[in-house]
């Protein structure tokens, strides 16, 4: 099969790889019809995730057709059209049985600090990802979800990660009616978090980024107030001033380890490797929240340490909520929101690339070229 492969930081290409095989009675093989490049793939593309090996295939957002199932699979059959949540999860371990599907203990031998994820390094289980023609899907009785007939393919594709993750972020904010919500990052997750915050009854939603084209998009899609921090000397002081010096009730870091806005953070992370990437968004979130407020970490960070103001979390009495999104738990409610027109996920897709052109897709997405918000990857030559 043809599959995207990692060659080193900033370098990917498409190669021939062996087709995946059933290796466990509860496995399925899925033929990928659509995949997406996720903002958290950027951390991999930049080589920030430990135990990321040359030859790995990325891709944790994909949908497809079931080609083959193992003898223990009863809930799926060949020909079913499925969306595959990014969490590789068993459904029966200590954590899955409590609904924490992003923290499954049975799908990642290499770390307990992270659950299993498709195409996200050996630190996350060494699973091959969906930016390929075929994928092995373990625990197929539990993980994949048959796509309802009234949900479009590209809406379903966003239900594998970006949409449920943004929705999860707003839920973790524990938003009360009329509360103010500050979201760092106008990428797909930040955009969906902004939209979701209104569903939770927020009274004010402000999205922060340094890319005008993304801020313009979320200002309409959210809708949301937008702040370009590149115009500010000190974003945190500004956020205090626009909340009458109170701070925001909820601050969400939807950026993660690839932040911009602090030379010191960048040097410590990308230069010295003394921390996992650049945690400036988390730093600003902590400092912009009001005392007694809530901060949410939904942007992806790797397991190594980060420079974050722990003392301010303590002294301000902040509540910190963070977790990988348990996608399966969000899907029934998200399908209802899509049907009701509360969220139109596929409107954020701006670019389509054939799998063969995926290096171009990564470059356009990571370098924020051509107004790119979210790219779709389509297997097959000249598919896009």
């Amino acid at each position: 099969m043809r599959a995207m492969t990692y060659r080193g930081p900033f370098r990917v290409r498409v190669e021939d790889k062996p087709d995946p095989e059933i290796q466990h009675p509860n496995d399925a093989i899925v033929r990928v019809t659509r995949a997406a490049i996720c903002g958290s793939d950027i951390h991999l593309y930049h080589g920030l995730m430990p135990d990321l090996r040359v030859g790995e295939t990325f891709g944790h957002e994909f949908i497809g057709i079931v080609e083959e199932v193992g003898p223990a699979v009863e809930n799926l059959k060949a020909g079913d059209k499925v969306l595959v949540p990014f969490n590789v999860c068993c459904g029966f371990c200590y954590f899955c049985s409590r609904g924490l599907y992003g923290n499954c203990h049975n799908t990642n031998p290499s770390a307990t600090a992270a659950g299993g994820m498709y195409g996200y390094s050996h630190t996350c289980g060494g699973w091959a990802g969906g930016q390929a023609e075929y994928v092995r899907v373990p625990y197929a009785n539990f993980g994949p979800e048959i796509i309802p007939a009234d949900i479009s393919d590209e809406d379903a594709l966003l239900c594998t990660d970006a949409l449920p993750t943004g929705y999860h972020a707003a839920q973790m904010g524990d938003i009360k009616e009329g509360q103010s919500v500050l979201i760092f990052g106008a990428g797909p997750v930040g955009i969906f978090a902004a939209r979701s915050a209104w569903l939770m009854g927020a009274g004010r939603v402000v999205v922060v980024d340094h890319l005008d084209y993304r801020l313009e998009f979320v200002s309409k899609y959210g809708p949301a107030e937008t702040v370009n921090f590149a115009h500010l000397k000190d974003p945190v002081v500004y956020f205090k001033k626009i909340t009458d010096y109170l701070g925001f009730d909820v601050a969400i870091d939807a950026v993660g380890a690839d932040g911009s806005g602090s030379a010191m953070q960048a040097f410590a992370g990308f230069g010295l490797k003394a921390q996992a990437g650049n945690a400036i968004a988390l730093h600003w979130a902590v400092n912009s929240a009001r005392k007694g407020g809530t901060i949410v970490i939904i942007g992806a960070y790797g397991p190594p340490m980060n420079l974050a103001p722990v003392g301010s979390i303590f002294n301000k009495g902040l509540t910190v909520h963070a977790n990988q999104c348990p996608v399966k738990r969000q899907l029934p409610r998200l399908f209802e929101h899509i049907r009701a027109g509360h969220i139109k996920p596929s409107e954020i897709f701006t670019h389509r690339f054939a799998l063969e052109d995926i290096a171009e897709g990564y470059r356009v997405f990571t370098s924020k070229l051509d107004g790119c918000i979210k790219p779709v990857v389509i297997p097959g030559r000249n598919a896009a």
């Binding site: 060659r7 090996r53 040359v54 031998p109 050996h122 569903l199 009274g203 004010r204 107030e225 626009i242």
Partner: protein, 197 residues
């Protein structure tokens, strides 16, 4: 509860000229701050408040009740490893399924073996893995050269795409490149002329 109403923008627009301006102080509103697309009454936003009731939020409660008390639960069948699989020392055993999509190899593989002898709170674990990742890249580069299969850096980094969408930067690079080549050419010519003298 903190209430904001967009129809009362002055409530949150602090612009008292008597406030002393410090170095880190920005005027409000900033030129980078837009409220243009938010309606005056946020309750008119489509779907506003439909998940206000926690009962409508899928993640309430965060943890669901369960009777499972062991970390793995009732595992059943296990995948058989056909290659080396690194197992964290914080795991009780090999997980019932695993990816192992790229087996370890060479010097980078030896470093990964070393890293997995330490727990996940250890810097030696993570920093050694990051070092192994870089050595892995170098091993592939060297191996590809010996096999006569050099990487296509321009295609893999999609430089042509980057330059296509950054025509201004392309012009700058071409100009700087031409200046650099010109300087080298002049330097070589001057050097040769001195040699002849």
């Amino acid at each position: 509860m903190t209430m904001y109403r967009y129809s009362e923008q002055q409530k949150w627009t602090v612009s008292d000229p008597s406030v002393k301006r410090a170095v880190g102080d920005d005027p409000v509103p900033s030129t980078g701050h837009s409220t243009a697309n938010v309606p005056a009454d946020y309750r008119t936003i489509q779907g506003w408040g439909v998940d206000l009731d926690p009962a409508d939020r899928p993640m309430v409660p965060m943890e669901l009740p369960s009777t499972v008390t062991t970390v793995r639960g009732d595992v059943g069948a296990r995948q058989v490893p056909h290659t080396k699989v690194h197992v964290s020392i914080e795991q009780p055993d090999l997980t019932p399924v695993f990816g192992a999509s790229v087996p370890p190899h060479g010097l980078s593989g030896m470093l990964r073996d070393y890293a997995y002898q330490f727990g996940e709170a250890s810097n030696r674990h993570w920093m050694t893995l990051i070092l192994a990742d870089r050595i892995d890249v170098a091993e592939h580069l060297i191996g590809d050269v010996f096999r006569g299969e050099g990487d296509n850096y321009i295609a893999e980094r999609a430089w042509t795409t980057y330059l296509k969408y950054n025509p201004g930067r392309t012009k700058r690079w071409v100009t700087l490149g031409a200046i650099a080549l010109g300087a080298i050419a002049i330097g070589v010519a001057v050097s040769k002329s001195r040699d002849r003298d």
